[in-house]
């Protein structure tokens, strides 16, 4: 049963990732990325990491992708008209580099087969909100607080960068 679910979710994840890269329309790409993240959340559930599955849907598929869609609609981006219309050396080189990187990773994994055959039985209590929160608010309290500062700094920095008022080089302010 778990094997079938894994195969289904893995095929969904890979197909949506490829569709995201190949799609000419930016909005469709973003929606395929949402699908990819939902299938990854399902895989986290199979790995018995319930807390992170929920966080994945809330933060990634919810917040970050809504931000992406907002920016796409705000900028009114055109489609990439000439994408994949004709063969280019650049595409071939990119594909070649991808194959090389993939081969490297698979070679590294392939050296250690039968490493960990089964999910650890401890995982049933490790993956819950209770267990993660327990560790997060005791051992990792300081990094957690620093994350808050990081997010605040990111928001302030984004406001600074995306400010409306810009100085042109010809001296005319908008």
């Amino acid at each position: 049963m778990i094997t079938y679910a894994f195969v289904l979710l893995a095929i969904l994840a890979i197909a949506s990732a490829i569709a995201m890269v190949m799609n000419k329309n930016t909005v469709n790409s973003a929606l395929f990325l949402v699908l990819n993240m939902l299938s990854l959340a399902g895989l986290y559930l199979l790995l018995q990491a319930q807390f992170l599955a929920v966080i994945q849907i809330l933060v990634y598929a919810g917040a970050i992708m809504v931000l992406f869609l907002f920016v796409i609609m705000l900028l009114n981006v055109d489609d990439e008209a000439q994408f994949l219309d004709k063969f280019r050396v650049k595409y071939f080189l990119a594909f070649l580099l991808g194959v090389v990187v993939f081969g490297q990773i698979i070679y590294t994994i392939g050296g250690v087969t039968d490493l960990l055959p089964e999910i650890s039985p401890e995982m049933e209590r490790v993956g819950t909100v209770e267990a993660v929160g327990d560790v997060l608010f005791t051992d990792y309290m300081l990094p957690f607080e620093m994350t808050a500062i990081l997010l605040t700094a990111a928001v302030v920095g984004a406001l600074m960068v995306a400010q409306y008022k810009i100085k042109r080089t010809d001296g005319i302010d908008e």
């Binding site: 930016t26 933060v59 990439e80 080189l93 594909f95 990773i105 960990l116 999910i119 995982m123 810009i166």
Partner: protein, 100 residues
């Protein structure tokens, strides 16, 4: 049961897809989404290692990676908006002011 190798292989496939996307696409927003895809692939391998070892630390690391990814997305999209204001395009081949 599924061995951990399959999760790692899936993670490798997703990472490679994102990498090829970064190299091939020219739209800055799609490029950004490909980077998010690569981050997600690494998160998947971290979580699979965490759960096959029965270890909470890996999940905590993924939690912090998620927070950093959110911050990175916010700042990156702000930069894309700033570029669009100046160039009226998000085509990264047209952002060549610093190119030699």
């Amino acid at each position: 049961m599924i061995e951990i190798d399959w999760y790692l292989a899936l993670s490798a496939v997703l990472f490679t897809t994102g990498l090829i996307g970064v190299l091939v696409r020219r739209n800055a927003i799609v490029l950004f989404m490909c980077i998010e895809l690569m981050l997600n692939a690494v998160n998947l391998s971290l979580i699979s290692f965490a759960s096959y070892h029965g270890n909470t630390e890996g999940q905590i690391l993924v939690f912090f990676a998620l927070a950093v990814a959110a911050a990175e997305a916010v700042v990156g999209l702000a930069i894309i908006i700033a570029i669009f204001r100046n160039q009226l395009s998000v085509d990264i081949t047209r952002v060549n002011l610093l190119r030699w």
